[in-house]
């Protein structure tokens, strides 16, 4: 064992001497990682302490898993956690396939001008700030002046208070997210499609394949590794729902379906100053996310031989 370790450091020393310029180039990134990603992990110990800002991290007493117990006994946290999973799960079902469909549709467009035009149109919403998107959504769905309700009333239907009814929140949230991000997310798949050798299609054309057959038998299988990688990343984010957009759209009336872990952490930690509980909630989320990514990666490697690592 000792020989292996000594051998390792010897080789490392030789590498450092030989390629010191490359290691020097790597240094800023390494420092950034250490300072901004690893150093803050020190704060994670708050999750295991009865933290008081006055006593500081070191001065606060250890409480073991007490904060986690409190969290798991808290119905609001459980609700937030289940909401997170539900919103992400629905996103996975509805929002994940759409960029793939869009990319395939763009690829099938014959007119170069038409393709550029439609791509620009669907990419644009990504560059709009979430605050503005939330403003647009609130205005569109306004019960008095919103276009949607104007249409409903012109059809002699009842006006709907979309943003105050919990049963509508997820639809509005996921729908507007799809509108904002699906186009931009399709870029990854378009890039993957661009990497498919055109001779595969030419060969298929000579062999007698229709466009539909080419899409199913060539395009989709060839971009499958990219789809799997994106799926693994998405599964890793299953317990992460961006809280800015939720905070902009939700209100106490919709907490039942809208409150997620990140908004819970925000309210408990920053507004309620229960830093230890908020940190425990964040850590709980991170551990679950890690387990999900790990499991998805393992399954993917077994099933499709494609994996993140």
């Amino acid at each position: 064992m000792a020989t292996i370790i000594v051998g390792y450091f010897k080789r490392l020393g030789e590498d450092l001497r030989r390629d010191w310029q490359l290691y020097l180039l790597m240094l800023p990134m390494l420092l950034w990682f250490l300072l901004f990603l690893y150093k803050p992990m020190e704060g994670l110990q708050i999750a295991f302490k009865d933290f008081s800002p006055f006593r500081g991290i070191a001065g606060s007493p250890w409480v073991g898993l007490e904060n986690f117990r409190t969290l798991l006994d808290d119905q609001i946290f459980i609700r937030a956690f289940l909401n997170t999973i539900t919103i992400s799960g629905l996103g996975l079902v509805f929002a994940f396939p759409l960029p793939i469909v869009l990319a395939i549709m763009f690829n099938e467009l014959q007119s170069e001008l038409g393709r550029r035009f439609s791509q620009t149109i669907v990419y644009l919403p990504h560059f709009i700030s979430v605050v503005i998107v939330a403003g647009i959504v609130i205005n569109l769905l306004s019960p008095t002046t919103g276009v949607v309700n104007l249409i409903l009333s012109s059809l002699a239907l009842d006006r709907v208070y979309f943003l105050t009814q919990p049963e509508w929140f997820r639809t509005v949230f996921i729908g507007s997210n799809i509108w904002k991000e699906a186009g931009f997310e399709s870029i990854v798949y378009l890039a993957a499609i661009a990497g498919i050798s055109p001779t595969l299609y030419e060969s298929a054309r000579v062999d007698g394949a229709s466009r539909w057959q080419m899409m199913w038998r060539i395009t989709l299988p060839c971009i499958l590794p990219t789809i799997i990688i994106m799926l693994i990343i998405r599964i890793g984010n299953l317990v992460e729902v961006g809280f800015e957009y939720i905070i902009l759209l939700y209100q106490p009336a919709t907490y039942r379906t809208a409150d997620v872990v990140s908004t819970y952490v925000y309210r408990t930690g920053l507004q309620g100053t229960q830093y230890d509980l908020a940190t425990a909630a964040g850590l709980f989320n991170a551990v679950i996310a890690f387990a999900l990514v790990f499991a998805a990666n393992r399954i993917s490697r077994k099933v499709s031989t494609t994996s993140l690592w």
Binding site: S197, T199, G208, Q213, R217, C222
Partner: protein
């Protein structure tokens, strides 16, 4: 009836014409090779036959049927591509079966066809492997399997051996020839490799700058090139071309080699060329490296000419002797003597007059074939 007929076929990209009025008749069961340098339009011509490129002008007929507006799938052709075009997610059997699957053939028929093709191409042990697990030669055989399984009227090969190393290329060349002999399917084969063209073809079509320079059997093209381009393109090393000026036409035509800063020399030309030459005509005198001799006695048919040796390249049983006549380079391919170094000392080359080719320097056209 020709299996494939091209009449005045033209390809334009916007205002740019890349294939100019190509005419070609490929007979049933014939193996025709389109050969030429990169960018000469040979692949574009093949792709027009396949239906992968639109035809800007002229007509293409396959089996007597005009196919200008017929989709590739309905032309009854199969194509083998340079980069194999194998589907990476399918195994060998599925790749071979692809064309039949998309045509919704019956499963039993597909299985039997795949088995038969795999047996012909020695692919039976690899049927379950993915293309990534195969060698270059095996991949190319799978690509051919996919073509033969469809039993098309015409095989189209687009530089199928270009991605293989020299040894494998020689092996695969022989396999393609055997396959053609066995199946007898009309084949059009594109390559830039003149050795492939010479060894595989029943007839060769030499193309340059989007035009057909000459069509003929390999030996016709080798022995009677229609112009300086064909002469220099076929043969390895290529034909030597000496710039010269006609000085005498009567009786025994002669030319003065243009001296590039060196002493000029007079070269006797084949008698058959005399009637077609005119005084002071600028010509190119062609001589194949294997026809240049060293240590032969001069006679009525062999003339001796002073040469300086630049470089010697021993190839084993043969050697390439790079020399200069009147300052112009000339390569001789000769049998390697026991003491190869003596070749560096020679001061004269022997040139058989009857083996000389004469081309007009301006048009490049042959003034005569050799006698």
């Amino acid at each position: 009836m020709s299996a494939v007929e091209l009449n005045d076929v033209v390809k334009r990209y916007g205002a740019l014409e890349v294939v100019h009025s190509v005419n070609l008749n490929v007979e049933q069961g014939e193996f025709v090779v389109l050969v030429g340098p990169s960018g000469c339009g040979k692949s574009t011509t093949l792709r027009m036959v396949a239906g992968l490129e639109e035809i800007s002008g002229g007509t293409v007929s396959i089996g007597g049927r005009l196919v200008n507006r017929v989709a590739p799938k309905d032309r009854d052709v199969a194509m083998v591509f340079q980069n194999y075009a194998l589907y990476p997610h399918l195994n060998v059997a599925e790749n071979i079966a692809f064309g039949l699957r998309v045509r919704r053939e019956k499963k039993d028929f597909i299985d039997a066809a795949v088995k038969e093709a795999a047996a012909i191409l020695d692919l039976t042990p690899y049927l379950a492997r993915k293309p990534a697990d195969l060698s270059g030669g095996q991949r190319q055989r799978v690509a051919m399997g996919r073509a033969i399984v469809r039993k098309p009227q015409v095989f189209l090969f687009d530089e199928p051996l270009s991605n293989l190393d020299a040894k494998l290329r020689t092996q695969m060349r022989a396999e393609i020839k055997r396959l053609h002999k066995r199946m007898g399917v009309t084949s059009i084969y594109v390559t830039h490799d003149q050795i492939e063209a010479m060894t595989l073809a029943d007839r060769i079509v030499v193309m340059n700058g989007g035009r057909v320079e000459q069509v003929g059997t390999p030996m016709e093209l080798f022995l009677k090139p229609a112009n300086a381009f064909v002469a220099s393109f076929l043969g390895s090393p290529p034909m030597n071309l000496l710039r010269a000026t006609v000085v005498s036409m009567d009786g025994e035509p002669k030319a003065r080699i243009d001296a590039a800063g060196a002493e000029t020399a007079i070269l006797r030309l084949p008698k058959t060329s005399g009637t077609s030459l005119r005084a002071d005509q600028r010509i190119l005198v062609g001589l194949r490296p294997e026809h240049v001799a060293v240590g032969m006695d001069a006679s009525a048919d062999v003339q001796e000419i002073a040469a300086t040796v630049d470089l010697l390249e021993p190839l084993g049983s043969e050697a390439l002797l790079h020399t200069r006549i009147s300052g112009q380079p000339i390569v001789a391919k000769i049998e390697t003597p026991a003491d190869v170094e003596t070749l560096l000392q020679i001061g004269r080359l022997q040139i058989p007059v009857g083996r000389l080719h004469v081309f007009d320097a301006e048009s490049g056209r042959a003034v005569n074939g050799h006698a």
